[in-house]
């Protein structure tokens, strides 16, 4: 068309500050938020280091904490996959559980005794299948994810108890256990956390730069608009659930590797943590918004809190849930405050910026 009416600043100026931060068009909001998380984590670290008789900064403690951060982050990612498309996954812990049983059956020398290279992919596949079932039920029966995953949670838990009979699988190959407990030579960085960071980096790329990831965000952002824009929202929902199952299985695999045992009870308490870390990490509850760095920081904060409660305050791990709950509330409140602050900032930018004048858009 004719005249170029330039009313826009060059798009380059509005680039998102860091490659890893993802959100459909909310780049700045997320990075500011993640910064807040980093600061909270820093404060927690400072508090924990400065308490008397603190063993916080030792390599052992660091490794311990890092490993748990790995489990929580992977778990939160599993939950976030469903949150992103506007649903949720209450069966995430149960999937950890049932896939652990699958792993145990594969790895334990008393049963199939397969090597880790075969057993772990089988476990992942089991996780995908469990997620796929969730997705199918949600999409085909058109029942909301809350009810579907609540039901499958019981189904999977029942299966795991039935199959395992409650026994743990502890005759696992040494190679499998080494990965879980190994650290990069000299640096003391556990392998597990590296695995998780790699997965998060890949997912950041997926959400930010691939068509698939964008479509997931669109499905959660506005399902009706996504549908009308040619996105197959049903397919996206199923895929999101499959990936959710996959990541849940991965979390369980990491855990089993660390513990050296495949315990069927794995994941029983994990649903709450999956939500806590995801939400603290900035995953939007209504969908369409997620941050990989946020999830990682969420995991850090949650584990620091748990560690702090047990070690420093010397109270039992059960009370940790109180603090977790309080942290979620705090995270949401802080988020609201930030949104309001952001609106005011955008508003004053508008005041300072141009006022649209009547003669400004020249018609054709």
């Amino acid at each position: 068309m004719e005249k170029k009416v330039v009313d826009m600043e060059p798009a380059a100026e509005a680039k998102q500050p860091s490659g890893k931060k993802v959100a459909a068009g909310k780049g700045e909001l997320v990075s500011g938020r993640t910064l807040g998380l980093v600061m909270s984590a820093a404060i927690l670290v400072a508090v924990l280091t400065l308490t008397p008789k603190s063993t916080f900064l030792s390599t052992d403690t660091m490794a311990f904490i890092s490993n748990y951060v790995a489990f929580w982050a992977m778990l939160a990612l599993a939950q976030a996959m469903c949150l992103v498309v506007g649903g949720m996954n209450l069966s995430v812990g149960a999937i950890c559980s049932i896939t652990t049983v699958v792993l145990g059956l594969c790895l334990d020398s008393r049963y199939l005794g397969l090597s880790g290279c075969i057993a772990v992919p089988i476990m992942m596949l089991a996780g995908c299948v469990a997620g796929w079932i969730n997705g199918l039920l949600i999409v085909k029966l058109k029942i909301n994810s809350f009810i579907v995953t609540l039901s499958t949670m019981f189904v999977y838990m029942g299966l795991r108890s039935g199959i395992s009979g409650g026994d743990s699988y502890n005759r696992l190959p040494q190679s499998f256990k080494t990965i879980g407990n190994g650290t990069v030579a000299g640096l003391g960085v556990p392998y597990l956390i590296l695995v998780v960071v790699a997965v998060l980096a890949v997912m950041a790329f997926v959400f930010n730069r691939t068509v698939f990831g964008r479509r997931l965000l669109a499905t959660g952002g506005n399902a009706e608009a996504a549908k009308l824009s040619g996105v197959d929202t049903d397919k996206m929902t199923v895929w999101a659930n499959v990936l959710s199952g996959l990541f849940a299985a991965l979390a369980a695999a990491l855990y089993a590797s660390y513990m050296g045992v495949a315990t069927p009870g794995t994941g029983d308490d994990w649903v709450i943590i999956s939500f806590a870390v995801a939400i603290i990490g900035g995953t939007g509850l209504s969908g369409g918004l997620v941050s990989m760095t946020g999830i990682l920081m969420g995991g850090v904060i949650v584990q620091l809190i748990k560690y702090g409660i047990v070690q420093v305050m010397k109270s039992s791990d059960y009370y940790a849930n109180c603090f977790l709950g309080a942290s979620i509330l705090l995270a949401i409140v802080v988020d609201r405050v930030r949104e309001t602050y952001d609106e005011k900032a955008r508003s004053s930018a508008g005041r300072a910026g141009r006022k649209t004048g009547p003669g400004q858009d020249t018609g054709p």
Binding site: M1, K4, V5, V6, D7, M8, E9, A11, A12, E13, A14, A24, G25, K26, G27, F205, R209, T210, V211, R214, R215, A218, G221, N222, E224, A225, A226, K227, L228, S229, G230, V231, D232, G288, L289, E343, R346, S347, S348, A349, G350, R351, G353, K355, T356, G357, P358, G359, Q360, D361, G363, P364
Partner: protein, 502 residues
């Protein structure tokens, strides 16, 4: 008397109201007009206490008002009837009307349904709402819901009634029913503020009109002293053109889309038509006539019970929206841009490029080319003259007209061959309306698309189309050819349409 003195209000990126002073007297219907983004809705929301002004004061009957919540305005007797009608759907009409003033049995706190229904019925009669007070709200038509809202205001002894685009969800007939009621209220001494962008309506109903433009008060005049052109000039600062945009060059050799004998219970009865390259085919009809329903069948959202669809002469089966879009190159611009057309919290760029993501992917890395994405969005936004601070601006911060442009832009980017555009200028200001009309016309004329324009705005459809199909009761009841022939007059065409609908 309601008075606004030097009111100013700002939002992200927009100066909504700039030192606006207005005076609304009792016993008159005072129109508040202006383009979208001119500040009308903002002014209303400030009056009703939903927004706080950044500067200025409100005076009601001489007293300085300070509203902090919506309740404050209600308590002062100021009632607002919204464009998007907010009711409690599961409750009865009486309950909705009497919600603020539930009558109880003595002081027991137990509701006296009989008294409530009787009182509600009284107010319902006043506004001509001829339904049982116990009828459930959600089954009511938009027009009836609106009358119920007004009854509610009356029941609360409203002294000022603010109506925000009240006829946007009404048919002509229903609107005609509303106006005598408003006149009666005016005569009873109520201050009525009528926000609208429909010029004929305002000129026919209102006594005074105040015009806002880009957040400033342009002037207040008596309607009797104004012509339509005067009013338009006040609103947009220049003349408005009603003439047809020009003859289109339709290629009858290239049939892009044809449907035959499409039937679907309650949505379409034996509908058939064809649309050609370079044509703007108008679908005219009232709400519910079956045009949107037909469109949704064509794009694959709904399956027809019988009938065939031909794309470029070949019979096809359309399985889904992505099938119709990516395989058959048919696009559909929805009439509900906020609910179905846009991702409000996302950027302009994301909204425009969603349909083309898969085409701008780097084959190897599977990553969307950021350069191509930005360029596509930039091209589209420039072509459509979207007014925004940047491509990354959130769509929810844009004015209605600009939002609609982004919504259309998404489909232009997708480069469809057939584009179905559904009510493109609802809630869009005069200036942007013109631009969109020109855009649609250019799509057919210059870019050789086949365009189907669904509209209930007679002026719009006559101005842009080259051929018009008239819909009624889910059937096509008439066809007008050569609408773009310069010899034909507007009256000729509109009369012909009216005849088909009778």
């Amino acid at each position: 008397m309601l008075e606004l003195r030097s009111i100013s209000k700002n939002f992200p990126g927009i100066k909504a109201l700039d030192n606006v002073s207005l005076r609304f007297e009792p016993g008159e219907i005072h129109a508040l007009m202006g383009e979208n983004g001119a500040g009308k809705s903002t002014a209303m929301k400030i009056i009703s206490g939903i927004y706080q002004p950044d500067a200025g004061e409100i005076y009601w009957d001489g007293k300085r008002l300070s509203f902090h919540t919506y309740r404050d305005s209600i308590n002062a007797g100021i009632y607002i009837v919204y464009q998007e009608i907010q009711v409690i759907p599961e409750s009865s009409i009486a309950e909705n009307i009497m919600l603020d003033k539930m009558i109880t049995l003595g002081k027991s706190g137990i509701v006296d349904w009989q008294a409530i229904n009787e009182t509600a019925a009284r107010y319902m009669r006043m506004v001509g709402l001829d339904l049982p007070p116990t009828a459930v709200m959600k089954h009511l038509s938009a027009a009836h819901k609106q009358l119920a809202q007004i009854a509610k205001a009356l029941a609360a002894n409203a002294k000022a009634l603010l109506l925000d685009e009240p006829t946007s969800s009404l048919t002509q007939h229903e609107a005609d029913n509303l106006f005598p009621i408003l006149r009666e209220l005016k005569n009873a001494g109520v201050t009525i503020i009528f926000v609208s962008h429909k010029i004929e309506e305002v000129m026919g109903l209102c006594d005074k009109v105040s015009v806002l433009r880009d957040g400033a008060h342009v002037g207040t005049r008596l309607v009797s002293q104004l012509t339509k052109d005067d009013l338009i000039r006040m609103m947009i600062g220049r003349e408005c053109n009603d003439e047809h945009l020009g003859k289109l060059d339709v290629n009858r050799e290239r049939e892009m889309l044809r449907v035959e004998h499409i039937t679907r219970a309650d949505k379409a009865h034996d509908v058939g038509f064809a649309v050609y390259e370079g044509e703007v085919l108008g679908f005219y009809g009232l709400v519910g006539a079956g045009r949107t329903e037909l469109a949704r069948i064509i794009i694959g959202q709904d399956r027809p019970d019988s009938g065939t669809i031909y794309v470029r002469g070949e019979p096809v089966r359309i399985h889904s929206i992505s099938d119709s879009l990516y395989h058959h190159r048919i696009g559909y611009v929805t009439e509900n841009r906020k609910e179905e057309g846009l991702f409000l919290q996302s950027s302009i760029q994301t909204n425009i490029t969603i349909t083309i993501w898969q085409y701008i992917v780097n084959r190897l890395t599977r990553s969307i080319s950021s350069v191509k994405e930005t360029k596509a969005a930039q091209d589209m936004a420039t072509a459509l003259q979207v007014k925004a601070t940047s491509l990354q601006q959130r769509v929810e911060d844009l004015s209605g007209g600009n939002q609609q442009k982004v919504s259309i832009g998404k489909w232009l980017a997708a480069d469809c061959d057939v584009l179905i555009i559904d009510e493109p200028t609802v809630g869009v200001d005069v200036g942007a309306k013109e631009q969109i009309h020109r855009l649609i016309w250019d799509l057919a004329r210059k870019q050789r698309k086949a365009v189907i324009l669904i509209s209930s705005d007679m002026r719009e459809i006559i101005r842009v189309s080259s051929r018009i199909l008239v819909f009624k009761d889910q059937r096509i009841v008439g066809e007008l050819a050569d609408v773009d022939d310069p010899i034909k007059t507007y009256d000729e065409i509109s009369t012909a349409i009216g005849r088909y609908l009778a």
